[in-house]
Symmetry: D2
Subunit: 141 residues, 4 copies
């Protein structure tokens, strides 16, 4: 049985993940059930009020969620996710998305993702999402 390698899974997923590439996400840390990403807010990510579009902060959290939930080596499909907004972000802000595992069942799993300002540590949004864990392996590696 091949050992599951979260970094190799991340790299294989990321190679084809065109939207996470557009976001400019950069891996900080990954391990089984955990992922930390970084990105910098650009002006083409802003909404009509001149602040970061809520869909972009959600997407950033959603990418961290996808890498964390697939890190166990079983293809995991997002079923449901929610986002609570705390503070706006603006162009130039450097953000961290940190995904942690709340619960890992055989068929489903749930993760929290905190999106925060790298420099001030202020949280801008709280994401929570659940996946269905298929029996299909990702890999082999």
């Amino acid at each position: 049985m091949p050992t599951v390698d979260p970094i190799a899974i991340y790299e294989q997923m990321m190679k084809e993940d065109h939207f996470s590439q557009w976001l400019g996400v950069k891996l900080i840390k990954i391990s089984a059930g955990y992922c930390q990403l970084q990105m910098t807010v650009r002006s083409d990510m802003l909404n009509g009020f001149g602040i970061l579009h809520g869909g972009v902060s959600f997407s950033f959290a959603d990418s961290a969620f996808a890498f964390a939930s697939n890190s166990h080596g079983r293809l995991s499909v997002s079923q449901q996710a929610s986002m609570t907004y705390a503070k706006p972000a603006k162009a130039g802000d450097v953000l961290i998305a940190e995904a942690t595992q709340l619960n890992l069942g055989n068929k489903t799993a749930t993760f929290d993702v905190k999106v925060y300002q790298k420099h001030t540590q202020e949280t801008i949004a709280f994401f929570r999402g659940s996946v269905y864990r298929t029996s299909k392996e990702i890999g082999p590696y």
Copy 2:
């Protein structure tokens, strides 16, 4: 008192909404508390499994939600939103996001957004979001 014009509000918001422009959203219909948008899935919107990134379908719904909730002429700030995924979408799919108002209070309001395939009418995701309604007017128009 100037009459509130949802189309003028949409146009003013959209002019500065760089991320909705990147999504390629096109207005189908807007009225007080209602918005229908269209977009076409592109390859740069896909995730590592070759299907539409969940953050992009959320963003599309979130834009319809923002236009619908601001259509009453009071600046409305997203507080919380959730997304339930039903079916994947792929490059080339033409999608509709239809935002309808569930509840309009003085300080808060809630909207449902259904994201569906234009041609088959199949729903791909169900979004629900709440805003805080500030006392600040959008406009004048």
Copy 3:
């Protein structure tokens, strides 16, 4: 293969469902993927502000969700649910919970439940929940 009978499933579940009995829920209508219940708000269901406790309106919706999701004859386990409150309810109010199916997949399904005043039709809360559908049959009937 025995035919699945949503009413028989409801009756078998309800016979042992002590908390739904405490709520005083009464079946109005049930069919595959659909359930409508009625209950009357009592004074022992109120919170510290003298209005219906949010947990009771959630519970009422959750019971309709459970009956609707199990009506297909496969044991279905709640994974996640959310509640958006629109208006308060008070002692003596007669409420309806109407559960409708948004999406039925092989492994998961999602339902909306609207809780509203029977007499005025005013909605008091919007519930949305997802189940994991086990392969275990309920019944046979």
Copy 4:
């Protein structure tokens, strides 16, 4: 200006909170933005599958959320809440609900509530809720 006393607020709310009394909640600890409650699962709280009804675990979390969000001395009204279920609970289980503040704004605030087994520390559900903070004081004390 009178000092806000979270314990006095709890006691005043709880005195009239008939449903939290029915649940049998007992205060373990309360402070500004924080509340920890205990309750014991009874047989009249079970659902049709013989386990704790999801509405009861939600209600227990919701009560902790209400006490924590009102502890600042401003009347706070629940707008939205979600529940993710991790493990079932059964009659006799002693449960803790611990509400912590994620974000405190001027008009809104968000709380997480973890519901877990007192003896094994196993989490049974994760609750997240948001309130609208009115300008009305609770008290005076």
